[in-house]
Amino acid sequence: MTARPGLPSFDYVRASALDEVTRLLKEHGEAARLLMGGTDLFVRMRDGFISPKIVVDVKHLPGMRGIIYDEQAGLTIGAAATMNQIARHPDVQTHYPLLAEAANSVASYQLRNRATLGGNLSNGSPAADTAPATLLLEGRIVLYGQNGEREAPANEFFLGPGKTAMQAGELMTAVRFPVPPAHSAGQYLKLGRNKAGDLAIAGVAIFGFSDGPVEQVANLPNLPYRFRIALASVAPVPLRALEAEEVLAASPPGEETFALAAEKAMQAASPIDDVRSSAAYRRAMVRNLTLRGLRNVWEQLRK
């Protein structure tokens, strides 16, 4: 690999209004690219995969870098909020620790000062570290286009490698998360070639919750707890392991149920062989990480 200090030529525009962005996207089409943190964009430009004529910096638009929590409305994270901003934010740490953990697992500290939630999700990478948490916490992606604002639920957002529900001419402005259940715990287990800093070979997020206080639900006959599982880097898109979730909804939590759910999660994966891992290894690791995550989250829930 040759280090290319320079970038191919383009015109930089710092956008100051949403409608300026949609106008530029309409005018230039594929030749325009949006810039937030640039941590993926500049690499792809240097590698020659894309050569935009115009780069539109959208991170200075109002609200794009904000993080706002409200007890009724939940959490709104501007699309250009950085990973470090999210990982450090007291309200995210308190109410959405799974998301803070996921943001903190991305690349290196320096890159987390630039990389954004919106960029991570809108690239449509199957390996996007914040995607599993966004799926499990029922994030809604806020998109702005010619016809104004619309929301896409996270579970309808990822369509294929590099493909999302974002349409030509749209930009992502925020991700909204509902108020989490009163009692919950989560964990993102990311396996890389190194302990930190790498893209995921496989990522498994587990979210367990109950709708009422533990004391009230603990003696109910059927299953006070629910679990959600999402996988990264082991299929064309980040996805929920719904059959595994059904197993967990149908049987009491415990080793036997967790083992069966882990098998189902493994079956939900359809990984590829690549430079980071073989498909077979990815499958096995989905099973192991799911089992480990379920044990850990269950232990946290029972505290």
Binding site: M1, A3, R4, P5, G6, L7, P8, S9, F10, D11, Y12, R14, G38, T39, F42, V43, R46, V55, D57, N84, A107, S108, Y109, Q110, L111, N113, R114, N194, A196, G197
Partner: protein, 157 residues
């Protein structure tokens, strides 16, 4: 290609410059201002040799456009020592021989400096995590980590 007028504070000095859209902050520092502490390694945000502080936080300057640094305060390794006095972090690097070829050192120092600013007493694990984005191909990590530990014991950045 468009040019942009920017003002940026580099190592305490106000600079007013005209830069093309595609110039990176690293190119601005090295090629316009002759500040050659930050190095061009991978050009992909992997190696951290170009690490500088932008508004107090470490970033890979190869992954920031010069025009994006408009209005920012940038600090490079050149600005750690003052009046000929090295910082305790730099002294600790000398003491531990934490430098081999030296190519990664300016970036490592900036990441470690920023770590000690936000967390004056990091654990070994916290030091390792903070330096994930700084690759040393001489693989002198052990001495680098020891040096940061020593600097932390002696009172921070």
């Amino acid at each position: 290609m468009a040019n942009h007028s920017i003002s940026v504070t580099v190592n305490g000095s106000n600079e007013y410059l005209t830069v093309p859209s595609n110039m990176t902050l690293l190119q601005l520092l090295r090629e316009r201002l002759a500040i050659t502490g930050p190095k061009n390694g991978c050009s992909a945000g992997e190696c951290g040799a170009c690490t500088v502080l932008m508004n107090g936080e470490p970033v890979n300057s190869c992954m920031v456009l010069a025009v994006e640094a408009d209005g920012a305060e940038v600090v490079t390794v050149e600005n750690l020592a003052h009046d000929g006095l090295l910082t305790s972090l730099q002294e600790a690097f000398l003491e531990h021989n934490a430098v081999q070829c030296g190519f990664c050192t300016p970036g490592v120092l900036m990441s470690a400096h920023a770590l000690l600013e936000r967390n004056p007493h990091p654990t070994k694990e916290e030091i390792q995590e903070a330096l994930v984005g700084n690759l040393c191909r001489c693989t002198g990590y052990l001495r680098i980590i020891q040096a940061v530990q020593t600097a932390a014991e002696e009172g921070g950045a």
